[in-house]
Amino acid sequence: MELLGFILVDGLIYGAWLFIVSVGLTLVFGVLNILNMAHGSLYAMGAYATASAVGAYFAFGGTSFEFGSYLVMVLAAIAVALIIGPLLERGLLRHFYGRDHVILVLVTYGVFLILEDVIKLIWGVTPLFVSEPYSLLGNIEIGPLYYVTYDFLVIAVSVIVGFAVWFWLNRTIQGKVILAVIHDREMSQTMGVNVNKVFMISFTLGVFLAALGGALTAPMISVSPGIGVNVIIVAFAVVIIGGLGSIEGAAIGAVFVGLARAASVHLLPEAELFIIYLVMAVVLVFRPEGLFQKTQARKI
């Protein structure tokens, strides 16, 4: 029984993290129809930017108000999004719209390769550490175990982010315009929607979410080259399990994968490395388009 509790808590923590790193991917796919392989690099950029920014914050007198570092983390993610998002979407991706999905995967794979080196050029290859925000909130005791409160902060942030994105898409005019573009791009263009702008905003938001995932993760890990490589495939798995383009699906997929991984860590540690892919393969076998994807008619 106790074990079940651990699995549940660990699973929720991991699932919340998964949701944050993958929700941007599903959003970008939903609007732009691009499965963005560079998502992992954008996550890594967020992590690096945070590591630098928070490091600078503490070096220049941030110790008097340590909680300010959380604000710095969010600002770092916003900065990454505002610089990279419009640049990548306007400068590169728009030239490839309308091509096959798989070709776009490869285009973003190329972007991924480039960004991996850009990261090394900017931040070097030595690992960066910023653990201050992680330990700032202290620990929580649950039963016999101590959890770092920061982990629960991640859960809170992911719930807020999920709700905010959902609210924005479904309850605001801007969001409804985006839904209209998803539904029928040409028709919304004739109705006077600036589709290019919608694409740019959505992509930038996707970049922001990826960078925010990185920013939240940076205090928990040593920020070193290659952190994006693993995240991308995990995020893919979550998004595919949930059904591409579905925010709710990503949430369910993240919790699903989180629990599966926590269960495997506690019960069958050998399987930890591939349990995510196993879950993805099993889901795809029974629901070929993911859990939340509506079936589409075949074209003749």
Partner: protein
């Protein structure tokens, strides 16, 4: 000249050229081409699926199976004969492909790519955790023998190069024949419109399964050769970035020409080696930029340059 003689002549000429090349090439170049051909064999499997409009992001699975078969066989049973190992690797990979093919044949586009990727990552995860067979460190592979002949030094490199060239040429010929056969042409039809192919009375799923088994076998062959040439295998063979490289070669060459695959593979290895040497920190960047340029300027790959004349005459 009939199509069959043309293919036979093409293969023969290519092989003779490669034999001449082996006399002139320095050791490093011979090794580079051997590895490029081994990877090209896997990429040949990828273009076989690409003809049906499917991109497998998990060919590393078969590459890895082939490599580990070679490692196990030479380590545990003492079989070091390269031809035998290649046959065993191909059979093992094709058998697994025959199990997975019918399952994967239900998927298209992104889902095919991602499911094949997840299968290969499952193998990666399993191998990385199995410490009995080396875990993430992998295994060493003994130098191969060639029908009892066990060379070393430059002779070993030369023998490997010639063997790899032979397999490559044979695979090119066989795949060209397959692509131009009825079953192979159905794949192009599936790419265009699979429902029509179904109405014409062919089984799309069976055609894709067959293509997948071919791709698996080629992946296995590539894996065996790479394992023997490098002398070491590790779970990275099944990692998704390895599979990404094969897709890269496939996209670079396009699916029109079988020879272009190996040229692309050599280009990739050259770009990698030289940028590794001269810009050690930015070689991925040059690779990525190269990929973007190719996709932008040559949507059908290098092969569309080589066989343009053929297509204008109504060939492939």
């Amino acid at each position: 000249m009939s199509a069959a003689t043309k293919i036979f002549l093409g293969c023969a000429i290519a092989f003779v050229l490669l034999i001449f090349a082996s006399l002139l090439l320095p050791n490093w170049a011979m090794f580079l081409i051997t590895i490029a051909f081994a990877k090209g064999l896997v990429a040949l499997g990828i273009i076989c699926l690409m003809r049906a409009g499917l991109v497998s992001f998990g060919q590393g699975l078969f590459y890895c199976i082939g490599a580990y078969v070679a490692a196990f066989m030479s380590g545990w049973t003492g079989i070091t004969d390269i031809a035998l190992l290649t046959v065993l690797g191909v059979v093992a990979a094709a058998m697994i492909g025959a199990v997975l093919g019918p399952l994967l044949a239900n998927y298209r586009g992104i889902f095919f790519a991602m499911l094949s990727l997840s299968l290969s990552m499952i193998l990666y995860g399993t191998l990385a955790k199995l410490n009995v067979i080396g875990g993430t460190d992998g295994l060493n592979v003994a130098a191969p023998t060639f029908l009892g002949y066990s060379p070393s030094g430059r002779d070993l490199g030369l023998a490997l190069f010639l063997f790899t060239s032979l397999i490559t040429v044979l695979a090119c010929g066989a795949m060209r024949v397959f692509f131009d056969s009825e079953r192979g042409l159905i794949l192009l039809g599936i790419r265009e419109n699979e429902l029509r192919i179904e109405y014409l009375g062919f089984s799309v799923r069976r055609a894709i399964s067959v293509a997948y088994v071919f791709a698996a076998g080629l992946g296995g062959a590539g894996g065996v050769i790479a394992a023997l040439a490098i002398g070491h295998v590790d779970p990275e063979f099944a990692f998704w970035t390895t599979s990404g490289e094969f897709v890269f070669v496939g996209i670079l060459s396009g699916f029109y020409s079988v020879g272009a695959v190996f040229i692309s593979s050599i280009i990739l290895e050259l770009v990698r080696s030289f940028s590794n040497l001269y810009f050690p920190t930015t070689w991925q960047m040059s690779l990525g930029a190269f990929l973007l340029i190719v996709i932008f300027l040559l949507p059908n790959g290098l092969g569309s340059l080589l066989s343009k004349r053929d297509r204008e005459r109504g060939g492939t």
